[in-house]
Symmetry: C2
Subunit: 323 residues, 2 copies
């Protein structure tokens, strides 16, 4: 048995243990087969994670497994889609069995938690990268797109922001301070907001998951919708700050830091009042959508700041883009 | 505008120029959306191509674009599925505009030829790898799987084999001999057999595309179906040989070389006689499926060779596997 065949076998339980209705044929043939329920559409997204860029070098493989799948499923949540399955294409520098077992354990925990089964994949020798494509379904024409925000809509987020970015200084530390624990959980264990996305179908006018920081991601909605926004910075819920990080720094993490995987949504005031108590309780209104295509941040001291360009923050300088 | 944003823009026409019915939403949102026609299933496959392993270092980008998409779509052909769209996740060492334009031109030509649109993707800085996931559709329960071969079925292939492997010595040469031209076309311009796969729905009992060599790939069918086979080597159609390559070497290329992307199918004798003239004309019968789970090659000199293990050739030693 070849060394990579052994690795491959370790991944097979991800298909078998988390079998999911709709997956007619999983790994092992030329293709996998998925049955999309009648009256529904397929919703899918692909992301590549490169070691040293999207996760730290020598990152714990079980954490990587959870994080990789959570980040991918978060894109489904942002469309209001229900997760079904995923494919995993990996390049690995070596057939390291113990490392692979760690990755499988993290993927397995996340698979069960989010209700997705492994449907297919590919393992090749190469520098460590993971490419996950997630598949979900949504009733026809009910996917929440980025392009639906309208003047007068409210801007809301689904939870405290900035935690993952605040964790960055402690990621490599063996003994981080206790006060960094909540931030580290934000980074290592993001939770895609699938239930919320599901509940916002037909109610939210636009949605996006916050992966690049609130300013950049809301910027994508503004650009796609052809509108502007005013954000009230003192209304943005902030994650607990580690010792030595003040509110101003936490706010900067929330605005520009990324990796939060909360949802940023727009919805009309009447849609907000029509939400169930459960869903309304998870949303915090932080601003409004304007017809004027200006993107303005209102600081707590009363000053205003214009975000450069209606598209917001340019995240491509970081060496990545998405099609 | 960031350097990778420029690269990203070069790829956008792949979505716009080859718009495909069924793709409700292409690149630019958190997810893409595909509508699978009623009564049909989604069929999908993911493959990663790493520079220096799956294609030569410094390979012409336009050839890479064609080859990458052709190889991916070939998996759909093997299931009898009709191609619809694909995603492309790339890691690129640098934002090289001229290289990217070449890749886009090759992808565009292949997209139009195979009828697939770019539905989404991801571009990241890293060592050169391409991960393509192709999506097709097939009427419910009509996908051709590897597991349906039955004793008494015939084994057939869709065209001459060995050409791509015969090209390997010439890939890096600026002036290869004229006699190597047919082999080089096999390597650079594989053509997925989508029409044939489509025509074999409900008729072939099993199918696979020949990517790892006939012996390995038929071995996958035998293993999945729990059967054996006898191959008559002198019946295997061989691609034109370059100067200095004899029939014996070409036969070895056909058996073990790979990269041919013809189909290997099994079907009952009555199914074969029921085929339309067009389809029957593209198939060459080269052996039979046996109840005894032995995998035997009958050499032209009358000698017999047993292939090690019913699963055939172990291709995992090459440092890759598929889930």
């Amino acid at each position: 048995m070849g060394e990579f065949e052994l690795i491959e076998r370790l991944f097979r339980p991800l298909a078998e243990d988390t079998w999911r209705e709709g997956v007619q044929l999983g790994p092992g043939d030329d293709c996998a087969i998925q049955r999309v329920p009648e009256g529904h559409d397929l919703v899918f997204s692909v992301d590549t994670l490169v070691e040293g860029i999207h996760f730290p070098t020598a990152y714990d493989p079980a954490r990587l497994g959870w994080r990789a799948l959570a980040v991918a499923v978060s894109d489904l949540a942002a469309m209001g889609a229900d997760p079904v399955c995923y494919t995993l294409a990996m390049t690995l520098p070596e057939a390291d069995e113990s490392w692979a077992r760690g990755l499988v354990s993290g993927l397995a925990e996340a698979s069960r938690s989010f209700g997705v089964a492994l449907a297919g994949g590919d393992i090749t020798r190469g520098p460590l990268t993971l490419t996950l494509q997630v598949h979900g379904t949504v009733p026809r024409d009910q996917a929440i797109r980025r392009s639906g925000a309208r003047p007068g809509d409210l801007v809301a987020v689904s939870g405290p922001l900035g935690g993952a970015a605040a964790a960055l200084p402690w990621l490599d530390q063996v003994h981080p301070p206790a006060s960094a624990a909540p931030s580290l959980i934000c980074y290592h264990r993001p939770r895609p907001r699938c239930d919320l996305g599901h509940g916002l179908r037909g109610l939210a006018s636009a949605a996006i998951d916050i992966s690049d920081g609130l300013v950049a991601d809301l910027g994508h909605i503004l650009k796609a919708s052809g509108v502007g926004a005013r954000l009230e910075l003192d209304r943005i819920p902030l994650a607990p700050a580690p010792e030595g990080t003040d509110t101003r720094a936490m706010r900067a993490h929330a605005l520009y830091g990324g990796d939060d995987y909360e949802l940023c949504v727009t919805l009309s005031p009447s849609a907000l009042t029509g939400l169930s108590k459960d869903i309304a309780g998870t949303l915090t209104v932080i601003g409004t959508i304007t017809a004027v295509t200006e993107y303005r941040l209102l600081h707590p001291d009363g000053s205003e700041e214009a975000v450069r360009g209606a598209g917001g923050y340019d995240h491509f300088g970081a060496g990545q883009g998405s099609l």
